[in-house]
Every structure is written in structure tokens, then in C-alpha cells.
Amino acid sequence: MSSSPPPRGFLRQERWNPYVVGAGIGILSWTVFFLVDKPLGVTTPLTGLAGVCATPIIGAETIGANAYFKQHAFKWDYGMLFLFGIALGGLLSALLSGSARLEAVPTVWRDRFGSSTGKRFLAAFIGGLLVMFGARLADGCTSGNGISGSLQLAVGGWTFFLTLFAFGILTSLVLFGTGRPSKN
């Protein structure tokens, strides 16, 4: 066992207690509902960004003619700036705690699938694709359905939350088996 480092100030700690963080996200939800009359959500504005990214490849005409992209056209609106804020907050947190570091292949992945960057990137790409497609089909992700939906006791929110966990557990069984992991 290594000796523990000296305690750091709250803002410089690398990790906060998960219950404190959960309560923080809960209180953030009240604030968002009250101040701007919106729920917490991520993937809806991400759709507009997908349209922008696809435009040079597919062509502005085809994208512009698509009914779904028309409905979710990219703009620097509240939702998009909220995503920008998430990036800013993640960066700020990492810098303040000194935990910003480049990661190409995470340890749990490496222990199971080796240190090939190409293999990890391919999986991340496919995983990201599935996450976004699934979130659009379900009309919300972990934030919009899992937290915002569930906290309002929406039927869709809880259906999403429970189904997501069931399929996540099944997938991890297929990919990682039942073995004990090494330390992260």
C-alpha cells in the first residue's frame, strides 16, 4: 500500500464523492428547469452538428432536403452552447485537478483487447455511432431520457434507463466475460 498524498482543496481534487456529484446534477436540473425552462439534454443539439459534419461529404442539397435535419438544423442556440459548456467544464476540471492527459487506449480495454490504437479507435467509432443512433431513436440519451426523463417519472425515461442497463450488462458479458478487472 502506498502512503496517501496530502489532502487537496475541494476544487483541486481529482474525484468528488459520487453522491455529492449526483446531488449536484440533481440541483443543476432544478436550476435549468427554473432559470431557462428546459430539461437537461445533450443529443438533440448534437444532431444539428451531425448535419454540419455530413454536409461536405453528402452535399448541402441532400442535407438541406432531409426532413429530420430540417427539424434539427444547426444553430448556436441554447442547446449547442450547453454542449460547448460541457467541454469547457470538463477541460477546466481536468486542468484544476491536474488530471488532463491524452488517452488513446484505456486500461480496461487494453487488458482485454491489447494496446492497438487502431483497434480501439475502430471500436470507439462504431460505439459512438451506435450511441448516437440509439439516442435519436429513443429521442434522448443518458441525460435527456435517463436523468431528465426519469426525474420527471416519464415512462420513456425509466424504460430507457432500465433497457440501457440490461443491454449494457449483456454487452459487457459478451465483450469482457465475468472475470475480475485489474485496477483502473
Partner: protein, 194 residues
């Protein structure tokens, strides 16, 4: 249901500034909570790390009770999405598979990408493709999938007849039981590994 004034306390261009600040708080909380980390998320689904469950259940209960209080006081509207049951189940299933392969959900991916996770950025590019594929499948999905089990904007109290507050008392009891259980597992594992 009490209805609010047409405009919320913060609107227009000040809402755009609020968006960045509120988003930054969310990103900070996700990162400090440890969920902008592939290992933490994947290990949740392997029952080796319970951080995701602790954060989500606490957020749902604290958030839910607060929004309920605000709504009862006429200070906040509910924002319920329409439930298209088949779409939600299929979408959540695909999402669950993707979340373990990717190791992030969209929000945590953005926080992770900003703090140096390169594979999170690669996955976000995949997400752009996923969003585009969905947009072009939308006409078919809207016709064949979304109408199946279209329940409208329903809440659990609507479909069960059990009042909101009772739901929260039950949720709190379940959450506390789960928390006591996982803390005990974690303590036992810490002892076993030291």
C-alpha cells in the same frame, strides 16, 4: 397544473450565456464524478464499479424532488417527452450496446474529449455518422417504428394511478437499499485486495 409566465427568468441572449455556464457546471460534475472515464463506465456494467449508478440514482431523486417542489409552487414546468415505446426500447438497447463498446454516453464523451481522451473524439466522429444515418432512416422509422406503442407524454403516476410522492418514497427506499448493498460490496472488495 399551474402555468408560468410566458418567459422564464432567464431568456434571450442571457440564456445563451447561461447555457455555457450551466453546461460547464454539468461538464465539471461529470468529470469530477469520474464518469468522463472509460474504465469507470465500462466497469459499472461489469458490476466492478458502482459510480454511474450512484450518480444517476442520486441525481434522479434529488432532481425529481426539487422539480416536483418547483412545479407544485408554480415555478417550473414539466418537460415530458412523448414515449414511443418500441422506439425507446430499440433505441435504448442499441445505446446500451454502444455505450459499453464506446465507454461513454454523449455528455460524458464531450467532457472526456475535452480532458484529453482521444478515443472519445474518434467516437464523437462516429456519433456524427450515427446521427446522419438516423436522419436518412427517419422517414422509414417515423412510419414503421415510432407509431408502435406511441403512448404520448405519459408519466408513471398516469399509467399506474400511484401518486408522484409515493413513487419518490419508493424510489428513495430502493436507492438507499441499493446504496447500502453496493457500499458493502465495495468495502468487502477493498478489504480483500489490501
Amino acid at each position: 397544473m399551474i402555468f408560468l409566465a410566458a418567459t422564464p427568468p432567464v431568456s434571450g441572449s442571457s440564456a445563451l450565456i447561461a447555457a455555457v455556464l450551466l453546461g460547464a457546471l454539468f461538464g465539471l460534475l461529470l468529470h469530477r464524478g469520474g464518469v468522463a472515464n472509460y474504465n469507470v463506465i465500462v466497469n459499472q456494467f461489469r458490476f466492478h464499479d458502482f459510480t454511474v449508478l450512484k450518480i444517476m440514482l442520486t441525481a434522479i431523486i434529488v432532481g425529481g424532488l426539487g422539480v416536483l417542489a418547483l412545479n407544485s409552487a408554480g415555478l417550473a414546468n414539466y418537460h415530458i417527452k412523448a414515449t414511443n415505446l418500441l422506439g425507446v426500447v430499440l433505441g435504448a438497447a442499441i445505446f446500451g450496446v454502444g455505450m459499453v463498446v464506446y465507454g461513454y454516453c454523449p455528455g460524458t464523451a464531450i467532457a472526456a474529449a475535452a480532458s484529453g481522451s482521444v478515443h472519445a473524439i474518434v467516437g464523437l466522429l462516429g456519433a456524427m455518422v450515427g446521427g446522419t444515418l438516423y436522419a436518412f432512416s427517419f422517414p422509414w422509422i417515423a412510419q414503421k417504428i415510432l407509431p408502435v406503442g406511441a403512448l404520448g407524454k405519459v408519466r408513471l403516476p398516469d399509467v399506474t394511478g400511484i401518486p408522484t410522492l409515493v413513487w419518490f418514497v419508493a424510489l428513495l427506499a430502493i436507492a438507499v437499499t441499493v446504496f447500502v448493498w453496493v457500499e458493502r460490496i465495495e468495502r468487502r472488495r477493498r478489504l480483500a485486495s489490501s
